[in-house]
Amino acid sequence: MHPASDSAHAHKEEQRREAQLSGNSVFDTEADWVDYKAIGLDSAEALTHRAIEVLQIVDLEEDVYRLGLQGSIDAGAQPELAEQILQARTALRARLAEKDFKGLVESFDVDRYNSNMSVAENLLFGAALDPSFSEQQLPDNEDVLHVLQEFGLVQNLVDVGRQVATLMLDLFTGVEPGSPLFEQFSFISADDLPLFRTLLTRTEGILAGDLSREDRRMLLSLPLKLVVARHRLGLVDESFQERLVEARRVLTHRFGTLRKCIEPFDSERVNSAVSIQDNILFGRIVHGRARSGAQVGALLGEVVNRLNLRSALIKAGLDYQIGIAGSRLAAAQRQKLAIARAVIKHPYILILDEATVALDESAQNRIRHNLFEEFSDRTLIWLVHRAELAGDFDNIIILDDGKVAEQGSPANLDQPGTLFSQLYKRA
């Protein structure tokens, strides 16, 4: 036996003994506890396949696909998928070069400044693998500052930081501290505005090299957030952009290739540290074009379908962490997921009590239609408060004051004088 699995085995055995002595369950918590047979399946793979079918039934497939686009892949563990994503990147690029779609995405190009990315993103040109290279910690990262210094950029950035701070003070001083404008637009929080005001007076005329570490960090944090195309402040001009690109080359080489603190964007490779969408787009959707997001989304969907990538993306979406009690999902998505959870258990009888109230009418109708099909040989009991929703069922029971008031097929009940017809009319 392999020594590693030997010690793993010993560890499990010890856990089991401890559980026994403390009176807890001795079953293995990490085992596969799904009873595949009970739901008419034979493997985990079949369950995934079935899960995708059920997502379609409850009208949630598109949402999970989108979550999948925001997910990531481990290129080393899934080389085939990585290869397909690269194909999708090439196919999408060809579509984006067509006349109707030109200019919707600004591609990642190691030799060019991307005006739809922030200054920090432009410098890193990839994903931070080491947290000290994250956008937030960048102003404190001595290694990065050293490179910026080589290009004389620290003084520039501090100067721009001062200008941004002055502008933010000008714009947001009169705004209510609780206003959503702060979160949406300000580079400085309401609480920090006074700090920056004193900082500006205190450090006036002081060169970047003579600033305290904290003052320098505060001033540098502002320009790093600037997105040229979005903020339109005119503070990052072309020569500044060129020097940022030069610094990027050194950073990419030193901390991407040599030290693996950054995983840089590479047109020939999949980047496991950014989303699948970023990998396929290999660029940013531009600011300032109406419907650019929708158009790019449609092109992306077309390419994904053409290359049969959709189910792989939905699988990636199935790994999305939905938060405690689904808090990271919208109310409608939570409701759809709750129905999916019931449907996948393949019950003989499914009872839904106002289970679709959070959904819009067309989604409700789609789901009802799909469930009718799914439950054609089983029983579906649906509690509704609007009589016109009951018309498609075989049997209707009308409850009044806790008692069965009427019962029968829609044809039987839809007669003059019945409670059902009265309720129907009222609706």
């Binding site: 714009l171 009169g174 705004v175 903020h231 339109r232 005119g234 300032g288 074009r289």
Partner: protein, 159 residues
């Protein structure tokens, strides 16, 4: 075009004339500068009114849907404000707006626009005046139409 140039343009919009510079700058900063190609639709009649636009450069056509297709009912140009009535009354777009040539326009989010009106009496007053004018104009048109209708009916009765 940067935020200062945008602020200068906003100053020329009649509705914003009395606003101070930093307020206008905030308005520009929280808005998006959109580019539209020739013939591109900004919004269609019946769309929800989620924003107002100020034209920075180029012309926009107001289209009305007739039985023979779209007809151009008017043209808007630089410094004009578009789509603010739908935002103020929280009603769908009343007409379709299309770009004539390339157009740059500042898109002001509906919530931002309403805040601006709520917080600034001068803007609110200006909006009231414009609305009153519009009502007066519509009323005059209505009376003219009524008169015309009456004379037509009278003519028919005479036959």
């Amino acid at each position: 075009m940067d935020i200062n140039a945008e602020t200068e343009t906003l100053k020329k919009v009649p509705l914003f004339v009395k606003l101070d510079s930093s307020r206008l700058k905030l308005l520009a900063f929280t808005s998006s500068l959109m580019t539209f190609d020739d013939q591109e639709i900004l919004f269609e009649a019946g769309d929800p009114s989620d924003s107002a636009y100020v034209i920075m450069s180029g012309d926009l056509e107001i289209l009305t849907d007739t039985e023979q297709g779209y007809a151009v009912a008017g043209v808007l140009s630089v410094n004009d404000l578009v789509g603010e009535m739908g935002v103020l009354t929280n009603s769908p777009r009343s007409a379709t707006i299309r770009a004539r040539g390339q157009v740059k326009a500042l898109k002001i989010d509906a919530e931002m626009f309403l805040n601006l009106v709520a917080e600034n009496p001068s803007v609110a007053l200006s909006v009231m005046c414009q609305l009153s004018e519009k009502i007066a104009r519509t009323h005059r048109q209505y009376e003219a139409t009524q008169a015309r209708l009456q004379s037509l009916l009278a003519g028919e009765a005479g036959h």
